[in-house]
Symmetry: C2
Subunit: 203 residues, 2 copies
């Protein structure tokens, strides 16, 4: 199984970085694992007027639209097309993903890259190999508070509102909560759990 992890954290010593290493170790037990390092690759998360023009042209003038797409977006398109398991690892800031990950959604989950339009205008995934999307996050809010007070805003937007909307229904969220307060043993248990999860082809 081919895994592609989209990673976002500015600090190399972060727990997210340890989670990335664990996920990679797991994924490599059942196949290849590629990583997109959004920070280190200086991904530009800002939707430009060119991007928006491509978005508008995509349905009826796909060739013109493709010609407008950024090189970095096209490079990520090639990686996405090979992925069977797509994962995101990032810290939750102000109850949501950081801007860099949101920009990956805004600029890469676009028509002609991640989905096409059916004749009736609905979205259909064009990532034919993709079987699963996983999001691994860290936050300092308890899970029940995040659900009750913030309505699980992250998974609502990223799963129901994005991946499920383009037809990818097999979405999983590994939410690691109250991270700053836990001890080393709990962190080790989480890393082990993440490694095992990514090593499994069945889901």
């Amino acid at each position: 199984m081919k895994t592609l992890i989209v990673f976002n954290h500015p600090y190399d010593g972060s727990f997210c970085n340890a989670l990335l290493m664990a996920a990679k170790r797991g994924a490599e037990q059942c196949g290849e694992c590629g990583v997109i390092y959004l920070d280190k690759e200086n991904f530009n998360p800002v939707m430009s007027s060119h991007d928006l023009h491509a978005f508008v042209l995509a349905r009826h003038e796909p060739e013109k639209a493709l010609a407008l797409l950024d090189k970095q977006v096209l490079a990520y398109k090639a990686k996405l097309e090979e992925a069977e398991h797509l994962a995101f690892i990032f810290p939750v800031w102000w109850m949501l993903m950081p801007a860099l990950t949101k920009g990956f959604i805004d600029r890469v989950i676009v028509p002609l890259v991640a989905y096409d339009y059916a004749p009736d205008g609905t979205m259909q995934s064009r990532l034919e190999k993709l079987k699963r999307v996983t999001v691994v996050t860290t936050m300092n809010t308890p899970p029940d508070v995040y659900e009750r007070n913030f309505g699980n805003a992250l998974s609502k937007a990223l799963f129901q509102g994005t991946f499920e909307a383009i037809g990818i229904k097999n979405c999983h969220w590994i939410s690691l909560n109250m991270v700053s307060g836990v001890d080393e043993q709990q962190r080790e248990r989480w890393l082990k759990r993440v490694e095992e999860y990514f090593s499994s082809e069945t889901f």
Copy 2:
């Protein structure tokens, strides 16, 4: 009353741009109105390791933290400190704010800029003049669907999870829905409503 509008849309001909003009006309009827054009000012929405370091130092070594802050963030800090009414205008993409606006939250709503820590560690707004936060958005999802299926993810994160969390409780959301399908008359009514809203000092 001093109004500060944080604007985010990459296309000058957008309806968001018309909303900005209407909001500005309204705000100028009751005082000064400044605008932060996130796209045109090339705001960098990506939290750097420097920013993160400043965030970590802020509570116990504020002078060191301030020295690490980006010039653009400091320029926005000066504008925020004067604002009595802070507003955001942006399109909803994938159920949330665009990356650029999320980056404004990540990088500018930080300790020593937008809030300080009380002795018990809770956040307290340091924007002493700020009386109201308003968000004006466009989207193509009906309001009841956005509430039912996506739990109003945007207002949950941006109001309850951000501004209310730092003590700014007076938050209002003007959500304009199904924008791509409405006629010119409806757009005119919306622009008028927005102009009137921004011209009012009472709320």
